[in-house]
Amino acid sequence: MNTIIKVKNISKSYSRGLLALDNVSLKVNQGKVLVIMGPSGSGKSTLIRTFNGLETFDAGEIEILGIKINQNYNERRIQKIRKRVGMVFQQFNLFPHLCILDNITLAPLNVQKRSRVEAEEYGMYLLSQMGISMHAEKYPSQLSGGEQQRVAIARTLALKPELLLFDEPTSALDPERINEVLDVMRKLAQDGMTMVVVTHEINFAKEVSDQILFMDSGKVIETSTPDIFFSNAKHERSRKFLNQLDK
């Protein structure tokens, strides 16, 4: 089994000596889904953002798809990772000045130098997969949150990534819109996409994840399979967190 992500003892501190990440290690194999849970401020987002170089760290080493990065910012390597790893944000971050199809084709045209015909054809295919091909000519602000997030997923898929990172993809959505995004993510997992998902969606984590990583104050508290984590978490802190989520 190929290892896609290998994180070895990474730490990151803020200026006041506060640790955002405290000696974190983890591993994700090909085709697996890792869900990261934890209270807000626990370092989940910081951790996932180190994987594609949006966030730097002070010590340790990360290996993504065989490309190693450490505390010394290496533009060239990070650029290599970004071309093969997709990321979906909480606030969608679509380009508001471009129509939906142009949002999707921007990176294939400029990064992969594909032809416009090919990029647009594949873009339309992805939009139809997401059930929103009728919105291709519209602008992001004309779409609902759930639709925008599906466009954001299509936008990263357009680069045919080998790993997808989701940073709280449903936290900014209306409750009745959450499932349309989670359904897309379920399908991606079924098709064998390697994924790391920061989320509070317990049902999604139970159904889809292969592993749950629970964090608090920058530390990994426990790593378990979802069966164990949700029925019989090893750590007292995890159980307390789950109790609070249930309420």
Binding site: N93, F95, N110, V111
Partner: protein, 299 residues
């Protein structure tokens, strides 16, 4: 009670205003009578009888005052247009450097902006003229006859510019570029941080991201500031008189000295500058509308 109070306040302000205008008109009439010249524009057709070193169209001292004023306007428009283009290019470079990740580039551009903005433009023009051009050696830069810079000014592809024009052009461009740089930087940092993260995580280079994602979204915030810098540039060009460049203001000054027709000259100057700046504002507004039309869907 309140209504009466407000009414009286307005009445007093209107009376004061009428009084002030009355005094000004009275002064004007007294002055006109004293100079014994009357108020008319016939003198415009008399020969100017002064020489101009810089003229785009043929000009000799026997040509009329009106013709001299036109030459002055052409000279003004020439330096304004050149400086407008060059200061924009320079301003974009400075503005982008200020947002650069490279610390050296960031520090240099920050120093440039601080230094240029904190010193008077008049001083800078004097510097460019007396130290910059007149202080040069006769063969300062000679780049295989394409670009020559020396005491004779700038010669570029056979187009030769006098030292007065060159100093004014460089001085205005450098001065304005520092302000434009700040306008550009302000526009760029007004774009949400998420947009930077978004294009970076898609593997776009900084250059591509800037051109295709950030700048289109920064433009609506940049255009109004840019307009006011362009208007300042046009008005600042009248400092040409300090280094002896025959712009409209300098020629007007000479004519006033010769004819004593200060009122007519200032009316001509005011009206023409008003027309110029209104056209700049109008043009920029059109550009702004065009951009906003494209951006209608940005919340």
């Amino acid at each position: 009670m309140m209504r009466y109070k407000r009414f009286f306040l307005q009445l007093i302000i209107i009376l004061l205003f009428i009084g002030l205008v009355g005094i000004l008109i009275n002064n004007l009439i007294i002055n006109l009578i004293r100079t014994d010249l009357g108020f008319n524009f016939y003198w415009l057709l008399k020969p100017a009888s002064f020489a101009l070193s810089e003229h785009a169209l043929p000009f000799s001292p026997s040509d009329s005052y009106a013709w001299a004023l036109l030459i002055g306007w052409i000279n003004s428009l020439k330096v304004i247009l050149f400086s407008l283009i060059f200061s924009t290019i320079l301003g974009i470079i400075i503005g982008l450097s200020r947002t650069s990740k490279n610390i050296l580039i960031k520090k240099i551009s920050s120093f440039y902006i601080t230094f240029i903005r904190q010193t008077p433009l008049l001083l800078q023009l004097m510097f460019w003229y007396f130290v910059g051009f007149l202080g040069l050696k006769n063969k300062f830069i000679n780049f295989s006859n394409i670009l020559k810079i020396n005491t004779q000014g700038i010669e570029f592809f056979g187009l030769s510019l006098t030292p007065e024009f060159s100093a004014l052009f460089i001085g205005l461009s450098v001065f304005t570029s520092a302000f434009i740089g700040e306008v550009i930087r302000g526009g760029i940092i007004s774009v949400e941080k998420g947009q930077w993260e978004s294009f970076r995580s898609l593997g776009l280079s900084e250059r591509d991201g800037l051109i295709k994602v950030i700048i289109p979204q920064a433009l609506p915030a940049i255009i109004p500031g840019l307009t006011s810098q362009y208007l300042n540039l046009a008005k600042n060009s009248t400092l040409a008189i300090a280094i002896g460049y025959s712009d409209i203001y300098a020629i007007n000054d000479t004519i006033i000295n010769q004819t004593g027709r200060a009122i007519e000259c200032f009316i001509i100057l005011l009206l023409t500058f008003l027309i110029l700046n209104l056209s700049i504002t109008n043009l920029m507004e059109k550009i702004n509308k065009l951009i906003n039309k494209k951006q209608i869907y940005i919340n």
